[in-house]
């Protein structure tokens, strides 16, 4: 009997569930590894991403096919963003008490995060398209993609920069804040959500509900503020 091994292999890797399988598998593997070792570099999003890319390249699959088969996961990102309203609401009293610190940090921190990135990119010699794509890197990717397009960047690349920023924030953010002596969960959450959007917020949620709520608050405020003011600022400068 001659079994069609190659055909079976091809139908497995091209099955719509294959993308889901490697994503779920990689994620759980990384989580289990993190539980065991507590090693900060095992940031779930980053390492799962690397594992999935490795599997895709090894199997000769392209991103478009993977993206299509994981649509069901991506589509849940919307309701998950909406769900951030719940921790926000539960911490509303605390947020009201800290209204002025939140607003001040949003304005100064937000301008610094965006301005510093563009200035550094300019000094290091990135071209105009890259600069405009990097400018909205601290906000959640749907907003960043819209804004990047408006000011002359590339939407898909903006999503990548947003992601790199988030992942670095998720890995080093909590450590940096501890080094700087930032102890209160409100301040830690605010800093993580403001500069590292959803990935920072998920890191903040791991620290606790209050920290997560301030991260969600900072992320949404930063998103709205960037969407409204960055196109305006760019048109004034140019």
């Amino acid at each position: 009997m001659n079994l069609d091994w190659q055909g079976a292999w091809l139908s497995v890797i091209h099955h719509p569930l294959f993308g889901i399988a490697i994503t779920l598998g990689a994620y759980q593997l990384v989580l289990a590894g993190y539980e065991k070792t507590r090693w900060v570099f095992l940031q779930p999003v980053l390492v799962s991403m690397l594992v999935v890319i490795g599997v895709l390249v090894a199997c000769g699959l392209d991103y478009a096919e993977y993206r299509k088969s994981t649509d069901i996961l991506s589509i849940l990102l919307g309701p998950a963003t909406v769900a951030l309203a719940v921790p926000l609401y539960l911490n509303l009293r605390r947020i009201r008490q800290l209204f002025w610190p939140v607003l001040t940090t949003l304005v100064i921190g937000g301008v610094l995060a965006t301005g510093l990135c563009v200035a550094l990119g300019w000094v290091l010699g990135a071209d105009h398209m890259i600069l405009m794509t990097m400018a909205p890197k601290s906000v959640t990717s749907p907003i960043a993609m819209l804004v990047a397009e408006q000011i002359g960047g590339v939407a898909a690349l903006a999503a990548v920069f947003v992601l790199i920023t988030g992942v670095i924030g998720g890995i080093f953010g909590p450590g940096l804040l501890t080094l700087a002596g930032v102890q209160s969960p409100e301040a830690r959450g605010m800093a993580l959500g403001l500069t590292a959007h959803a990935v920072g917020t998920s890191a903040a949620l791991q620290e606790g509900e209050e920290c997560g709520a301030f991260a969600a608050l900072a992320m949404s405020l930063m998103g709205v503020a960037t969407a409204l003011s960055l196109p305006l600022a760019v048109s004034l400068v140019a």
């Binding site: 990102l77 769900a83 951030l84 309203a85 670095i168 409100e186 998920s202």
Partner: protein, 125 residues
């Protein structure tokens, strides 16, 4: 219970999508949905058990949901390699500086508000 909560979340997002299309094209649907749900919760004055269950279940898996868009990096490997140092340098440095600064500033402002409004006898300073 979980399904009912999930239905609410989806409904708010769809409402956000409609508003995004009609008037607020600058803000994405999910963010408008977040604001709407927030207003709804403030008006109701409590979080129903179903919404709370659905929200906490979804948020637990937020990192997992972010993996597929993250894998998109592989498509742009070439462009990133061209401007590698400028990109990595500015992204990493600006993030580290602004994140630390934002945390420090917020902490200072919180501490100052505490000493102004509610002096705590156990904590001198």
């Amino acid at each position: 219970m979980l399904l009912r909560g999930l239905t609410w979340l989806v409904l708010f997002q769809l409402l956000g999508t409609a508003l995004n299309h009609l008037i607020l094209s600058i803000l994405p649907g999910p963010i408008i949905g977040l604001v709407l749900l927030m207003i709804y919760l403030m008006v109701r004055g409590e979080v129903s058990e179903s919404i709370s269950l659905a929200a906490s279940s979804l948020l637990r898996y937020l990192p997992l949901l972010l993996v597929p868009p993250a894998v998109g990096v592989m498509v742009y490997a070439g462009q990133i390699a061209n401007d590698f140092w400028a990109i990595v340098g500015s992204l990493v440095l600006s993030l580290m500086i602004s994140l630390t600064f934002a945390g420090w500033l917020m902490q200072k402002l919180i501490d100052r508000q505490h000493t102004e409004h509610q002096p705590n006898p156990r904590e001198p300073s």
